[in-house]
């Protein structure tokens, strides 16, 4: 917990900024008061209200994405002291153990919109590619869904908590701003829907999508993804599982000619 002695401390923030997608980036530094329990968001809010840099320049407020502030929406992901994470759950007390200065940068794997805001539409497009949905007959009541054991539910629940934040992609050496790799999150979502009795009817389509360029074979097995996932989703298990599924799927296709 935060110590009482730090009540009136001021912390330096070094923030990488960019005015527009095609502008050059630059750094601004701000000093912000950090009461105990402060997180990066509460400091960014203070800076928004008082955007004077350490050199005394009146800057524009720093732009960043955020919404829930409880680490369930995934919006406020940025690179903090070199590591991608949510700025709401990045507590200043914890960051102080790493470095006295807090460094904020936009994620590097997505085009910058402005300052810390990046365009993550590629994440959602990947969900479309793997048909990340259960193909229900429609929005009417037609009785309950398939039953499942508590163990199956546990496995699926762990995967269902992916908030499309992008941490796994930022940490992945194979996922680049200008390549096609689909990324760990989407592979894991394919596993999630293949594990559902009705969702499995699209398993073949999902595996087809993951066999081609940018698919599962692009994974270099660095295993960074699972280390940085804020929801501790077993991403490497998902990659291994989908790896097996694609192999079986390829053999089936070979023998059946379908």
């Amino acid at each position: 917990m935060s110590s009482e002695t730090n009540k009136n401390r001021t912390i330096r923030f070094k923030i990488k900024r960019q005015d527009a997608p095609d502008s050059p980036s630059y750094w601004d530094e701000f000093d912000a008061p950090c009461p105990p329990g402060a997180n990066v968001i509460s400091c960014l809010l203070w800076i928004a209200a008082n955007p004077t840099t350490t050199t005394g320049r009146q800057a524009t407020p720093v732009a960043w994405d955020c919404n829930c502030l409880e680490e369930v929406c995934g919006a406020c992901t940025m690179v903090i002291n070199g590591r991608a994470r949510q700025s709401c759950s990045a507590l200043i007390d914890e960051l102080q153990k790493e470095d006295p200065v807090v460094t904020l940068e936009p994620m590097s794997k997505f085009p910058v919109v402005r300052d810390l805001v990046v365009d993550r539409s590629r994440i959602f497009n990947a969900l479309t590619k793997v048909k990340a949905w259960v193909p229900v007959d429609g929005m009417h009541a037609m009785g309950p869904g398939p039953t499942e054991t508590p163990q199956q539910q546990e496995t699926r629940y762990a995967l269902s908590r992916c908030m499309s934040c992008g941490c796994c992609l930022e940490a992945c050496p194979q996922y680049l701003i200008d390549n096609e790799f689909i990324g760990a999150h989407a592979i894991s979502q394919a596993r999630y829907f293949n594990a559902h009795a009705t969702g499995a009817s699209l398993a073949g389509n999902r595996l087809d999508a993951l066999e081609g360029p940018g698919g599962i074979t692009d994974c270099g097995n660095a295993q960074n993804c699972v280390k940085v996932c804020p929801k501790e989703i077993p991403l490497t298990e998902s990659i291994a599982d989908i790896g097996r599924q694609t192999t079986v799927h390829a053999i089936e296709k070979f023998f059946t000619g379908k």
Partner: protein, 640 residues
């Protein structure tokens, strides 16, 4: 697509907006869906505990859809309209089945059936859940279906677009579109639609810090109000009993913690049959023996215990702290799950992780420290419906259902004032959002197909659209060019502090009148506001400052309605009028915006009771002995 093909706009991509979008798209009408955030990041993800519905197990113990309705009305202190509540509770089991089919990972029993948990305001297990992140799971299921419909060309998403104004055709007075702004390029433009569904959530940010997300400013509702839509019961705001106060927001600690057996207690000692504040109230909670723990809710409400409705738990926690019983004498009580079996704690992982991440303490071992915080808006845009002649539900597919007073403008989900009356029961919000979308969505489709009189939006002359767009562009120009001295963030802080202090748990007339004066002053200062960013690319400063102006207008209606409702009902507690007054106030507050004088006009409309007669709302409270350590201070506030 045919040129005069009707289109529908849905504003807001939370549960209500997504449910409406898929339902309308399925009915064969194209939907344009607007959201300030990628819809998967909407505030619905914050809902934790579960979703209520009668189920076979509960039914065999005596529960029914009727009882679910009755609980909802009793919880809402009978201010809710009964036919919509009847309809919602009777559809609830169907909604659970549908969400189950979409693959929502509901917790399972050993046999593989959907598991259930206890929740506030009920004596039956009737809450379905997915760990402690039920809202997130339900939203994701609808997000997935939306994406599926998008690939089929049935839904068109506009993410990072902010709703600015509803376009109303001056001849027919129907809503025929919206003006919106791209939050990146800052482009302002109008969009045509034959019906507009507002699904824009609550207004917690008016109170500064709340459990709500950053975008829940009530700005969209306020803009509709300024354009002529009425507000219903704006004074009813739920303060959740258990939240973790924080620097940037108050984080929710779900009612499911108590539903699974969590207990609320304060350190205390019993002398002469009366509880007294603990002499060492700051002592580590694990060192306080059972005999020195006062389980306030269990003792005062033997029947419901820790699962009394939220407004009641909130007041008990609030007053016990005012009487000096809080942890360390301060404004916190313990919420304890440390005694629960591991398997039970596991079901709460989602929320226990949040507590641990944000406080550094492990709630599996140490009781959590919590305090009430603003959580939910029962009030919102005023809507109508068509009841069945016997009052048992609404006429299915009727275009009236959940339409505002502006023809063609609907309100679904939290922004809709229906269903919850004076207090919402836990796990009824997710139900209400999905129900509005799926059930009332059909009415929107029917309205557009069969009930529009006159020209389709697409064939109207551009005048009304251009005028509304011009109005919004002028507003932006005024803000950008304003060279006053007021800092919008400081004004917002003052608004939040004032609203929280005057108009949350306890609402004292003199204090509210003082707040009203401050509000008028803040409005004057707002005219003098100065932006620190005047550029036209991803200008968040502009978006926030514009919303602040709308928050001030909404707050005024909320405050005025709170002052004029001289009774206590549900979440609205007036120490000067501590009793419910059905003769004068068993009525809906309707707030209409008087644009000429920039102030609300309040009217009252009786609430019919076709199904259940209002009865006293006591939840079986018994008197307990407690010594008042200090006189109850006049310091009415939630956490801020």
């Amino acid at each position: 697509m045919a040129k005069n093909q009707p289109r529908i706009i849905v504003v807001g991509g939370g549960l209500a907006g997504l449910a409406a979008s898929v339902r309308i798209a399925e009915a064969g009408l194209p939907v344009d869906l607007f959201s300030m955030v990628p819809v998967k990041r909407s505030h619905s993800v914050c809902a934790q505990g579960g979703i209520n519905a009668c189920n076979e197990v509960a039914r065999q113990q005596g529960y029914s859809e009727w009882l679910h309705m009755d609980e909802t009305l009793y919880g809402g202190d009978f201010l809710n309209h009964q036919p919509p509540v009847y309809e919602m509770t009777h559809w609830a089991p169907k909604i659970i089945d549908l969400m189950d089919r979409m693959g929502v990972p509901f917790n399972r029993t050993s046999e593989g059936q959907r598991d259930l948990r206890m929740f506030g305001g009920s004596l039956f297990k009737r809450t379905h859940f997915a760990g402690a992140t039920t809202g997130q799971q339900l939203l994701y299921a609808l997000d997935e279906q939306t994406r599926r419909y998008e690939t089929q060309g049935k839904i068109n998403k506009y993410e990072f677009w902010e709703f600015l104004w509803p376009v109303i055709d001056p001849d027919t007075e129907r809503c025929v579109g919206i003006v919106a702004q791209d939050m990146r390029s800052m482009q302002v433009r109008s969009f045509r639609a034959d019906a507009v569904v507002m699904a824009t959530g609550g207004c917690g940010v008016v109170f500064g810090k709340s459990t709500m997300s950053v975008i829940c400013t009530g700005g969209a509702a306020s803009r509709c109000y300024q354009a002529g839509a009425w507000l219903g019961n704006p004074e009813f705001v739920q303060v959740h009993p258990t939240a973790i106060p924080g620097e940037d927001k108050c984080r929710l600690m779900s009612e499911s913690a108590r539903g699974e057996g969590g207990r609320v207690w304060v350190p205390a000692v019993k002398k002469d049959g009366k509880w007294h504040p603990h002499p060492d109230a700051g002592k580590h909670p694990n060192q306080i023996p059972q005999s020195e723990r006062w389980y306030i809710l269990e003792e005062k409400y033997p029947k419901y215990g820790n699962l009394v409705p939220r407004d009641i738990a909130t007041r008990e926690i609030f007053f016990i702290c005012q009487q000096g019983f809080g942890v360390g004498g301060g404004r916190m009580v313990y919420l304890d799950v440390s005694h629960l079996p591991e398997q039970t704690k596991h079901k709460l992982d989602g929320i226990l992780e949040i507590y641990e991440k944000f406080t550094g303490d492990n709630p599996r071992q140490v009781p959590m420290k919590i305090f009430p915080a603003v959580h939910y808006s029962m009030g919102g845009l005023y809507t109508v419906y068509t009841p069945k002649p016997d009052g048992k539900g609404m006429v299915h597919g009727d275009p009236n259902n959940m339409m505002t007073n502006v023809t063609g403008l609907y309100a679904f989900g939290e922004v809709n004032y229906q269903y919850h009356g004076a207090t919402r029961l836990g796990a009824n919000a997710l139900l209400n959002c999905i129900f509005d979308g799926l059930y009332c969505g059909l009415g929107v489709a029917n309205y557009v197909r069969d009930h529009i009189k006159g020209t389709r939006a697409v064939d109207l002359p551009p005048t009304a659209f251009d005028k509304a767009q011009q109005q919004e562009e002028n507003k932006i120009k005024r803000l950008i060019e304003s060279d006053g001295q007021s800092n919008p963030y400081e004004l917002h802080q003052r608004l939040g502090d004032e609203m929280t202090d005057s108009c949350t748990v306890v609402r004292e007339e003199s204090r509210m009148r003082q707040a009203y004066d401050v509000l008028r002053e803040l409005k004057a200062q707002y005219k003098n506001v100065r932006l620190s960013d005047t550029g036209m690319w991803t200008n968040q400063n502009l978006s926030f400052t514009r919303a602040l102006g709308d928050m001030l207008i909404y707050a005024e209606a909320l405050l005025a309605a709170s002052i004029l409702r001289k009774e206590s009902r549900g979440s609205h507690y007036r120490p000067d009028y501590p009793e419910r007054d059905d003769a004068k106030f068993h009525k809906t507050t309707i707030a209409k915006y008087d644009a000429a004088n920039d102030q609300p006009i309040l009217e009252y409309e009786p609430v019919p009771s076709p199904l259940v007669e209002p009865r006293a709302r006591t939840y079986g409270k018994v008197e307990t002995g407690e010594a008042n350590a200090t006189d109850q201070q006049k310091q009415p506030a939630a956490a801020r």
